[in-house]
C-alpha cells in the first residue's frame, strides 16, 4: 500500500517557485530520503506533506488523506520532527511528552505506558525529570523523536534530524531511527543534505535541486546509474595542450572533466586507470601533485544529475558559512 502519494505538487512564494511539479510515491514501511542542498525545496516539500504549508498546485495523499481537504486526518496519523528544535526548554523530558500526548488525545492509561516505553527506546529514562534546556543537542533530538511517536503514528516525517549534531550524536540518532522503524514498522520520510545519512538510512533517495526531482531510486541503483565505478581526482603541474583528450584515452576511463590543472576521471577500473595515468604523466614530464581514488558516492550521483557537487551547492546556499570556513582555513 502507498503511504505517501505526491502528484505534480507545486509551491510558489510570489514569483519564486520553491517546488516545481514534484511527484513520487512511498510504499508503507519504507525509509524514503529527500537529498539536496539547503534551498533545494526539501523543507518546503515536507511542510506541504505535514499540512504546515498549503500547496499552490498538485495533490498529496498521506495515509490516504488529502493534505488540504483532510488536513486533520493527516495530522492525526503522522509524527513530525521539524528542522528546528521545538521542545519546550523549560519543561522536563516527560512533561514535553505528556503535553504532546494530550494534544493527540492519547488516553491517560495508554499515555503513561507509551511514554515509559518511548523513554526507554530513546534511552532517556533516567533523564525523564530533567529540563530539556539542560540536555545536549543529541539528547534533545531524541526527546523530539519520542515526542513524535507518542501517539503511535504510521508515518514519521523528519526534517534534517541530525543537522547541528556532533558525529557521535548523529550515529546515535541513526541507530535509534533504524531500531524504532523495525520495531514499529513505520514509514519514514527524511530530508537531509548529508550524503552519508541518506546512503546509510534510506531505502530509496530522491535527489532534489532547485525545487525539482532530479533522480529517484535506491542508493545502490543511483550509484550504478552514473558512468564509472571509481572517481579519480588528480592535480597536476602545468599540463601540455590536449591533456584532457589524452586522459580520456586512458584504459577504462568513461568521462573526464576539469579545468586549470585539476581533473576528475570516472573509470570502471580505478587501479588500472591510476597506473596508466602515472605512467603517462612520467613520460610527459608532468608532475602529479595529488591523486585520490574513491568509489562512486552520492555526491558523484548529485553531480551527474545536477551538474554541481553537493558540497558546492551547500556553499552556494550558505555563502557566509563558506566564507567563515575559508577564513578559518
Amino acid at each position: 500500500m502507498i503511504a505517501i502519494d505526491v502528484q505534480q505538487i507545486v509551491k510558489k512564494f510570489g514569483e519564486f517557485t520553491a517546488v516545481n511539479g514534484v511527484s513520487f510515491a512511498v510504499p508503507e514501511g519504507e525509509i524514503f530520503g529527500l537529498l539536496g542542498p539547503n534551498g533545494a525545496g526539501k523543507s518546503t516539500l515536507i511542510r506541504m506533506l505535514v499540512t504546515l504549508l498549503p500547496p499552490t498546485a498538485g495533490t498529496a495523499l498521506v495515509n490516504g488523506f488529502d493534505v488540504i481537504k483532510q488536513a486533520d486526518d493527516v495530522r492525526r496519523s503522522i509524527g513530525v520532527i521539524p528542522q528546528a528544535m521545538t521542545s519546550d526548554l523549560e519543561l522536563s523530558v516527560e512533561e514535553n511528552l505528556i503535553i504532546f500526548a494530550k494534544l493527540y488525545g492519547v488516553p491517560r492509561a495508554k499515555r503513561v505506558k507509551l511514554i515509559a516505553e518511548l523513554l526507554q527506546a530513546v534511552e532517556l529514562t533516567q533523564w525523564r525529570d530533567a529540563q530539556v534546556k539542560n540536555l545536549s543537542g543529541g539528547m534533545r533530538r531524541r526527546v523530539e523523536i519520542a515526542r513524535g511517536l507518542v501517539h503511535e503514528p504510521r508515518i514519521f516525517f523528519l526534517d534534517e534530524p541530525t543537522t547541528g549534531l556532533d558525529p557521535v550524536s548523529r550515529v546515535a540518532v541513526w541507530e535509534m531511527l533504524g531500531k524504532i522503524k523495525s520495531e514499529r514498522n513505520l514509514t519514514i520520510l527524511i530530508t537531509t543534505h548529508y550524503m552519508d545519512e541518506a546512503d546509510k538510512l534510506c531505502d530509496r533517495i530522491a535527489i532534489v535541486d532547485h525545487g525539482e526531482l532530479k533522480a529517484l531510486d535506491s542508493p545502490l541503483k543511483l550509484k550504478a546509474s552514473i558512468p564509472g565505478k571509481n572517481v579519480l581526482e588528480a592535480t597536476f603541474s602545468a599540463t601540455p595542450p590536449g591533456w584532457e583528450e589524452r586522459l580520456k584515452q586512458l584504459p577504462d576511463v568513461e568521462t573526464v572533466s576539469g579545468e586549470d590543472n585539476i581533473f576528475r576521471l570516472k573509470s570502471q577500473n580505478g587501479p588500472a586507470t591510476t597506473l596508466a595515468l602515472m605512467e603517462m604523466a612520467a613520460r610527459s614530464g608532468v608532475t602529479v601533485h595529488s591523486l585520490s581514488v574513491q568509489s562512486t558516492t552520492l555526491d558523484d550521483v548529485f553531480v551527474h544529475y545536477t551538474g554541481r557537487a553537493l558540497r558546492d551547492a551547500l556553499q552556494e546556499a550558505n555563502p557566509r558559512e563558506g566564507a567563515f570556513a575559508l577564513r578559518r582555513g
Binding site: 486533520d72 521539524p82 528542522q83 528546528a84 521545538t86 519543561l91 494530550k102 529540563q131
Partner: protein, 370 residues
C-alpha cells in the same frame, strides 16, 4: 477542550519555572507604585525665600514675622535676609534661592493710608510645582496679614466651606489603580506577547501546528493561560499594593470579589489587545520595541497619574478608546470609594466589548498554517 487544557497546562508549567518573568511583572509595578507615590505625593518643603526689606517699619516687620512663623511651623519656606536686592536676584538666577520677597520702601506708608500696598514675589518659574507652592504659601500668608485684629462675629463676606465625602486619599493610593493595571499589562506583554513571538521565531509553534489542535483551541489555550497569568499578577499587586498604600479595610470580602472581577475582565481585555497586535508578527524585536511605546501611550492618558480633565484634546481622544482608562476608573471607584458594580458597569461593559472585538479580529487574522 482537552487540547486547550494541554496548551494551558504547558503555559502554566513554563510560567512556574520563570522566576525572572514573575519578578519583573509583579515587583516592578510595585516599586513604581512606591517610588512614584512618594515622589509625587509629598508636600513641598524648605523652599529658599530671600526677603529684601527696603521699608523696615512695623508693617514690614509684621510681614517678616509671618514668614518666619511659616519657616518654623509648616517649614514650607526657609527665609534668608538680604539687604541688596541685586544680590538676591543674582542668587535667584543662580538657583541659590527659589524666590525673592521684596518689601518696597513705601510699603508701610501705603498700609497706613490703605492705598494699595504691595509686596513683590519674584520667583523661579522653571519648576511649576515649586513656584505654585511658593505663591500659594505667600498668598496665604498675606491673607493672614490682612485679617482684622478683631473679626466680627457674623462675617459679612461670602466664604467657602469645603466638605470631603471620602477620607483623605494619599497620592500613593491614587496611583494604586494604575499600578494594578500596569502589572496586568506587563505580564500580558512579557508573559504573553514577547514569549509568544520568541516561541514563534524559534519554530516552537510548528510543533503544535502539526498536531490535530484546531485554531480555536490553540487561541483559547494561549489566551486563557495569558489571562490566568495576568490575573495572578494583578491580584498580587492589588493585595500587596493595598497594604503598602494603606487602603482602608483591604480585605473586605465583597470589595475583594468586585476587584477580582475587574482584574479578570481587564486581563482578558489586555490579552486580547496583545494577541491582536502580535498575531501576524514574527520579528522578536518588534514586541520589545513596541512594548515601551505602548506602555506610555496606554498608561498616561488613562488618568492613572493625573486627571484627564487636564489633558489636551488629542490625549483625551486616546483616553476614550484606551482600555486602561476604564480599568483605572473601575479600580478607583472600588478602591477609593468602595462602590458597587453599578458605578463601574459602564467600565466593565466597555472592557468586555473591547475584548470581544479584539479577540474576534485576532482570530480572523490568525493563520493555522505557516
Amino acid at each position: 477542550m482537552g487540547r486547550t487544557w494541554a496548551i494551558i497546562e504547558r503555559e502554566m508549567r513554563r510560567f512556574r519555572r520563570s522566576p525572572v518573568l514573575i519578578a519583573i511583572a509583579m515587583v516592578m509595578p510595585l516599586v513604581q507604585l512606591v517610588v512614584l507615590g512618594y515622589a509625587f505625593g509629598g508636600n513641598v518643603k524648605h523652599l529658599k525665600l530671600a526677603i529684601v526689606d527696603q521699608d523696615r517699619s512695623v508693617p514690614a516687620v509684621k510681614v517678616r514675622e509671618l514668614a518666619a512663623a511659616i519657616a518654623s511651623g509648616a517649614r514650607t519656606i526657609d527665609t534668608l535676609e538680604y539687604t541688596d536686592p541685586g544680590a538676591a536676584l543674582t542668587d535667584l538666577r543662580n538657583g541659590k534661592v527659589n524666590g525673592v520677597l521684596t518689601i518696597p520702601p513705601e510699603f508701610s506708608r501705603r498700609v497706613l493710608e490703605r492705598a494699595d500696598p504691595k509686596v513683590a514675589l519674584i520667583e523661579d518659574n522653571t519648576d511649576n510645582f515649586v513656584s505654585s507652592a511658593l505663591a500659594a504659601t505667600l498668598s496665604g500668608m498675606l491673607a493672614s496679614y490682612n485679617q482684622p485684629p478683631k473679626a466680627s462675629r457674623i462675617p459679612g463676606q461670602a466664604t467657602l466651606d469645603i466638605v470631603e465625602v471620602y477620607p483623605y486619599v494619599a497620592y500613593i493610593q491614587y496611583l494604586l489603580p494604575g499600578s494594578v493595571v500596569m502589572s496586568i499589562f506587563m505580564m500580558v506583554m512579557i508573559g504573553g506577547g514577547i514569549i509568544f513571538i520568541d516561541d514563534k521565531n524559534r519554530g516552537l509553534h510548528e510543533g503544535y501546528l502539526v498536531t490535530p489542535i484546531t485554531k480555536f483551541e490553540l487561541i483559547a489555550g494561549f489566551n486563557i493561560s495569558g489571562t490566568v497569568k495576568a490575573v495572578i499578577a494583578g491580584a498580587f499587586l492589588m493585595t500587596i499594593g493595598s497594604l503598602i498604600a494603606g487602603i482602608p479595610d483591604p480585605f473586605n470580602v465583597m470589595r475583594m470579589f468586585r476587584l477580582f472581577v475587574v482584574i479578570v475582565v481587564t486581563a482578558f481585555a489586555l490579552i486580547s489587545l496583545m494577541f491582536l497586535l502580535m498575531v501576524r508578527v514574527s520579528d522578536p524585536l518588534l514586541p520589545r520595541a513596541v512594548f515601551g511605546v505602548l506602555n506610555t501611550l496606554l498608561y498616561f492618558p488613562s488618568g492613572a497619574v493625573y486627571p484627564q480633565q487636564g489633558f489636551p484634546g488629542w490625549m483625551q481622544a486616546i483616553a476614550v478608546v484606551d482600555p486602561f482608562t476604564y480599568a483605572v476608573h473601575a479600580f478607583k471607584n472600588l478602591l477609593l470609594k468602595n462602590t458597587g458594580f453599578e458605578a463601574i458597569s459602564y467600565d466593565l461593559g466597555f472592557l468586555l466589548l473591547f475584548s470581544v472585538v479584539a479577540m474576534t479580529a485576532a482570530t480572523a487574522l490568525f493563520k493555522r498554517t505557516l
